[in-house]
Amino acid sequence: MRIIKGLWYFYQKLIIPSLTISVVLALFSQGYVSILFGIAFSYAILTPFVHLYSYEIDSPQEYYFYYNLGLSKTTLWANTLSISTLLLIVLGLT
């Protein structure tokens, strides 16, 4: 349970910035694709970059909180990338 909570807290930080930028990008791409598809597609692509900025560049020290929970950097990256990949697969299927 603690691991799941840790993964959720880690991912939570990425949602608002990724979603905000995705909405803006989707608004610009209106007419080419549906707005919902635009938001979801941008979100899936952007999240790893927001992860890179938020944790690797802006607050690398926060990793230690998750290390102390037993979550390695590889696990945290895998979490971000797998959610994005899953989102892209779901989009591809619909």
Binding site: R2, Q61, Y64, N68, L69
Partner: protein, 236 residues
């Protein structure tokens, strides 16, 4: 009784050897003070023992069982880094319940000093409050050993005293290794002192040895302070 045994730690950065066959040990209920000048390799040693930094070679065992990448076993060892590490977007109460077992979390949340902070996010805390919370979370965790890297770094004397008190009150079940440039407080807390110098560790028997090995200057201040801390000297 748990025992942490760290041996033969070697680490080179470029051509410079920062850790050269370092040995350190710690048992439950013990506070080991690790002293050394800036750049002596204290933080690197902690990170290597914790598992977040690779060494050229290391042998780390807990209760005679060799371990690799200790942070993958989160109930063995926890590390307090020098700089703030709590996620800023989560409330303190949530961080505590994520980090500590339910009964321990309840005990920590009952502490008077933390009650007003529980509904705040880490970004809203002062440096001293944040350090108190960081230490509290680690001290009430299930880890058998704590590595506290400069817990008094950059905080007001009031918080230094509170953190020392917090460590003293909650140290019985754990073994702790503590570093700090604030050597008086480190020595005051510690039951054993180890000096890191030139990539090696030495067990220190009395404060005069710190002068002898060039960590402290022989001054009148030291003389007064040695008298004031005579209680702590008995423990070395």
């Amino acid at each position: 009784m748990n025992r942490l045994h760290v041996d033969s730690v070697r680490k080179k950065i470029g051509d410079r050897s920062i850790l050269n066959d370092v040995f350190i040990s710690c048992q439950s209920g013990e506070i080991v003070g690790l002293l050394g000048r800036n750049g002596a390799g204290k933080s690197s040693l902690f990170k290597i023992v914790f598992g977040s930094l690779a060494a050229d070679y290391k042998f780390v065992s807990v209760n005679d069982r060799k371990t690799r990448g200790l942070y993958s076993s989160s109930d063995l060892i926890h590390y307090l880094p020098q700089h703030r590490f709590l996620p800023e977007h989560i409330k303190i109460a949530d961080l505590i319940s994520c980090f500590c077992r339910r009964d321990k979390a309840a005990l920590l949340m009952k502490q008077e000093w933390i009650q007003a902070l529980l509904i705040k996010k880490a970004k809203a805390l002062s440096t001293g409050e944040r350090r108190m919370v960081e230490c509290g979370i680690l001290l009430f965790s299930e880890a058998r050993f704590l590595l506290l890297d400069e817990p008094f770094n950059g905080i007001a004397p009031l918080y230094v005293d509170r953190i020392k008190e917090l460590i003293r009150q909650n140290i019985n079940e754990k073994g702790t290794v503590i570093t700090g440039q604030d050597y008086k407080n480190v020595i005051d807390l510690s039951s054993r002192i180890i000096l890191m110098q030139d990539g090696n560790t030495r067990e220190i028997k009395n404060l005069e040895e710190l002068v002898e090995y060039g960590y402290l200057r022989a001054s009148a201040d030291l003389g007064v302070w040695v008298t004031e801390t005579s209680n702590c000297l008995k423990n070395f």
